[in-house]
């Protein structure tokens, strides 16, 4: 397929899609309308189960099974990256030389690292109350660890990051999610149904039944997954070299 032909194909397809999309957009309920039947029911269900953050309730209670699917995609992506970016036989590891970092930058990185890590944990822990949750907090916590690479050097990061441990953590968190779901089955109701624990007092950390548990499991999985992913990429970009040495 030549370049010119492909461009034509894109132009025709894009124009068709644009026309259809515009026609559909003009027919959609106007932006900001007042008719949200599903949303109103979701809010009602969440309040009846004492979960202050309705979005967390939708994710970890009303549509918990859907979130299990999302977690599976995440897990599969991590495994796929691991398989694609493993060290092959004709590659070898070269220890990178330490990078010099200006002193204010290094100090900033070492100072902000614990703050960012704590913020990540705070965002996970308050997931069922205020904006936040396992997905966001996990990414923040995992990113904060990599300040060690940015502000100090790669070997410092490697010392606090035994990748095998994080891989195990990833698997354990995924199983914890499934086990929490199965526990509901043993309790005599449906898979992942939020009937196991008391709903607690509205707007406290332990409210919402199994929502905080599932939230914590997702937080742990996302944090471990991001650490493992970045470890694979850093290995490739920094350490692993090809051929028989340079």
């Amino acid at each position: 397929m030549s370049r010119r032909f492909r461009l034509w194909l894109v132009a025709v397809g894009g124009a068709g899609l644009a026309a259809l999309f515009t026609a559909a957009a003009l027919d959609l309920p106007a932006f900001g309308g007042d008719h949200h039947p599903y949303g109103d029911r979701a809010v009602h269900a969440s309040l009846s189960r004492h979960t202050a953050n309705v979005i967390a309730s939708v994710n970890f209670d009303q549509r918990a099974f859907d979130t299990l699917g999302e977690m599976t995609i995440l897990f599969a992506a991590v495994i796929g990256c691991g398989a694609l970016l493993r060290q092959t036989r004709d590659e070898h590891r070269a220890t990178p030389e330490p990078q010099e970092v200006a002193r204010p930058v290094r100090r900033y990185a070492l100072l902000v690292l614990p703050v960012a890590l704590l913020t990540g944990l705070y965002v996970i822990a308050h997931g069922q109350l205020s904006p936040g949750g396992g997905f966001q907090g996990g990414v923040v916590a995992a990113t904060s660890l990599h300040l060690l690479y940015l502000g100090a050097d790669y070997r410092a990061l490697e010392r606090v990051r035994p990748v095998a441990l994080y891989e195990t953590g990833d698997a354990v968190a995924t199983s914890a999610y499934v086990v929490t779901g199965l526990a509901a089955l043993i309790g005599g109701s449906a898979f992942l149904a939020n009937t196991l624990l008391p709903y607690g007092t509205f707007n406290t950390l332990s409210s919402g039944g199994t929502v905080p548990l599932l939230n914590a499991a997702v937080g742990m999985e996302v944090a471990c997954a991001v650490v493992v992913l970045l470890a694979r990429f850093l290995d490739q970009a920094v350490e692993i070299e090809e051929g028989n040495g340079t």
Binding site: A25, F31, G39, N53, V54, E70, L129, S130
Partner: protein, 115 residues
């Protein structure tokens, strides 16, 4: 105002598609794919918006005191943002692997190699 958010969502999606089709570098193509994803997020959240409403998060709000927007679309978008990032990582891993095997990341050169 009535349809502007939908049109912006469509524009973002279509520009991403255009970049994807005309890209000369697979890493650039992965970036364009994340632009496409952004378009879908904008569309979903625009559908769930309600005028003069606030977020359905009741940690600092008395339930029922203000109208709230649709939480369902937000839950869909929120998980996809993070999962989308890991899928981007998977695609980038594929690109790295392609560059190892074939020594190029230009899709046109790659199809020449095959044919």
């Amino acid at each position: 105002m009535g349809v502007l958010p939908y049109l912006v969502a469509g524009w973002v999606f279509l520009t991403g598609c255009y970049g994807l089709a005309t890209s000369r570098n697979l890493i650039h193509a992965v970036g364009c794919l994340s632009v496409c994803q952004a378009g879908t997020y904008v569309l979903l959240l625009a559908v769930g918006y309600r005028h003069d409403a606030t977020a359905p998060v009741f940690s600092d709000l008395k339930p029922g005191s203000r109208p709230v927007v649709d939480p369902l679309v937000q839950a869909l978008t929120l998980t996809d943002v993070v999962v989308g990032a890991t899928v981007t990582a998977l695609l980038l891993a594929l690109v790295v692997q392609i560059s190892k095997r074939h020594g190029t990341v230009d899709p046109d050169e790659l199809s020449e190699l095959r044919g």
